[in-house]
Amino acid sequence: MITNPTGRITQGQFSFLPDLTDDEITAQIEYGLRKGYAWSVEYTDDPHPRNTYWDMFGMPMFDLRDAAGVMQELRECRKTFPGHYIRMVAFDSARGIESITMSFIVNRPPSEPGFGLERQEAAGRTIRYTVKSYATDRPENERYR
């Protein structure tokens, strides 16, 4: 059980707000499309803060300029991975940016066990820290059951 004030992993733009409805997600997608971003859907069952590469649910949708189409991809992903973390990611290819410009979680496992902190005592008073998920000892796809 995660003890931070939200009781859940707080990555992404909107983790401190009540879960976004599909209409609210659509509004964010439309904002990104107006800005010229490309959307993609990513999922994982290893949400370690430094796990950069969540799995891509298909390619980034560079040519899809319709929020309904993007939502359809999200629905497919939710159907395939109902117990995974899923995030919407917007990419801006403009020169000088060429990076992610939006990212927010839209699906979570039913319960989020979170992470423990392992301390390895080193020279002097130095400690080496390892953030370790309580879920990842089990194999992929069996972590949040």
Partner: protein
């Protein structure tokens, strides 16, 4: 004196024998005033605001500025003739009265690129803000803006990380970053200090921060601070699943001390270290090199700048400091809040932010940008808004500054009536609610207070924050404002 009273005709003595006869000439006779000069793409251009002494002709004053910031001395020297002296002379090429401010003039001066050492802020500043600022015929002088040519920009490495890569390392996109300065700034032991850091980060902040004057005092040795703070950072990271950081201030008496502290911060796994502007331009460039070599984000607190940036008639504008710091290579710079407790007219402050974040600055007189500036793809600096701001101003802050900024609520987090975590929650909820509403197309400038009130219905800490600070403003007239637009004050 109006523009028509400025005696701007060319007055250079062209006959070499006359020009180099021993004695004293006016600067405008020596070649430092060239009204027909067309600045070259490779020139450094400066705009000075000058206040000549009574009876000193403004054009002669401008020529003197050009002279004293380049090759001139008070008298003619024959040794000029051993050099291609025309190219070493800076050229004042335009003088105009400052609108609405009798006795002050804008003077434009061009400098040939040969005058400057590659990649050295110290060398550039030794000329441009050296002796000239003590020159007796001027009552006061201020360097208002500077255009650094692309050829010179490319000799600087710029920010070690830059705001794009910083976001990638932190895995935080599409919203301002949130921070807080640990308070009280002086007197906490390492153990107590780490407590504040842990509470703030676990509550929802991305960063905590040492203050500018926290180094290694009797109440808290620097190693003690670093060890406790990093325990707090890692604990908070595990509790939230987010990358967290705390700016460890490595400012110290010598470079050797700073390197030692920075190395320890790296060894402990910190993502960021911090320095103060008072360490000096050369030390900043050295720390930038160190940060680049060690994958470290480099935070710069602008401690000391107010002594020379704030008064309009004398000193250096902060927009010039911001340009120098982008070249010198820092990843964060405190650039003002406009709405908080510290000096800053909103448009002028936006001008500083644009200097930090844009690839190319267009001329923008209301924001104080007098020159075009092509940054030649130099990385971007993340501006930091810090000083007397609170959750109730979230709509104004996001409206003024957009997403690429670190919003730092020190008192506004730690002073929360229900504790530090509650303060952090209030700020994070206010931030996320405002970004979401803006993206949905709401007019946050108008509807901001309403959006915050709605968010407070599901978030008690935000309600408490608004009840405590909702009405607090620092509404004083700024001293450093544009000469070209009436600037609205922020309520």
């Amino acid at each position: 004196m109006s523009a028509t009273d400025i005696h701007a005709e060319a007055t250079k003595i062209t006959d070499a024998k006359q020009r180099y006869k021993a004695g004293v000439l006016k600067y405008r006779q020596m070649g430092y005033w060239q009204p027909d000069y067309v600045p070259r793409d490779t020139d450094v251009l400066c705009l000075f605001r000058i206040t000549p002494q009574e009876g000193v002709d403004p054009v002669e004053a401008a020529a003197a500025v050009a002279g004293e910031s380049s090759t001139a001395t008070w008298t003619v020297v024959w040794t000029d003739r051993l050099t291609a002296c025309d190219s070493y002379r800076a050229k004042a090429y335009k003088v105009e009265p400052v609108p609405g401010t009798p006795g002050q003039y804008f003077a434009w001066v061009a400098y040939d690129l040969i005058l400057f050492e590659e990649g050295s802020i110290a060398n550039m500043t030794a000329s441009l803000i050296g002796n000239v600022f003590s020159f007796k015929p001027l009552k006061a002088a201020r360097l208002e803006d500077i255009r650094i040519p692309v050829a010179y920009v490319k000799t600087f490495k710029g920010p070690p990380t830059g705001l794009i890569v910083e976001r990638e390392r932190l895995d935080k996109f599409g919203r301002p970053l949130l921070g807080a300065t640990t308070k009280p700034k002086l007197g906490l032991s390492g153990r107590n200090y780490g407590r504040v850091v842990y509470e703030g980060l676990k509550g929802g902040l991305d960063f905590m921060k040492d203050d500018e004057n926290i180094n290694s005092q009797p109440f808290m040795h620097w190693r003690d601070r670093f060890l406790y703070v990093m325990d707090a950072v890692n604990k908070a990271s595990a509790a939230t699943g987010e990358v967290k950081g705390s700016y460890l201030n490595v400012t110290a008496a010598t470079m050797e001390d700073m390197y030692e502290r920075a190395e320890f911060a790296k060894e402990l796994g910190s993502v960021i270290v911090m320095i103060d502007l008072v360490i000096g331009y050369t030390a900043i460039q050295s720390m930038s090199n160190w940060a680049r070599k060690n994958d470290m984000i480099l935070h710069l607190h602008r401690a000391g700048h107010g002594t020379y940036t704030r008064q309009k008639n004398h000193g250096v504008s902060f927009r010039v400091i911001a340009k120098w710091m982008r070249l010198a290579g820092v990843d964060h710079i405190h650039a003002g809040t406009a709405v908080g407790k510290l000096e800053g007219d909103p448009l002028t402050v936006q001008g500083y932010y644009n200097v930090c974040r844009e690839s190319y600055n267009a001329v923008d007189l209301p924001r104080g940008l007098f020159f075009e500036q092509d940054w030649a793809d130099l990385k971007k600096v993340m501006p930091v808004a810090s000083g007397g701001i609170h959750a109730g101003q979230m709509h104004q802050l996001i409206d003024l500054f957009g997403d690429d900024v670190v919003l730092q609520f020190g008192g506004g987090t730690i002073g929360h009536p229900a504790g530090i975590q509650a303060g952090a929650v209030a700020n994070r909820v206010a931030l996320e609610a405002m970004v979401k509403a803006r993206n949905e197309g709401r007019d946050i400038r108008q509807e901001g207070p309403e959006i915050l009130k709605r968010a407070a219905q599901f978030c008690t800490p935000l309600k408490q924050a608004l009840d405590t600070w909702g009405e607090i403003t620092f509404n004083y007239a700024p001293t450093d404002t544009s000469d070209f637009a009436t600037t609205p004050s922020v309520a």
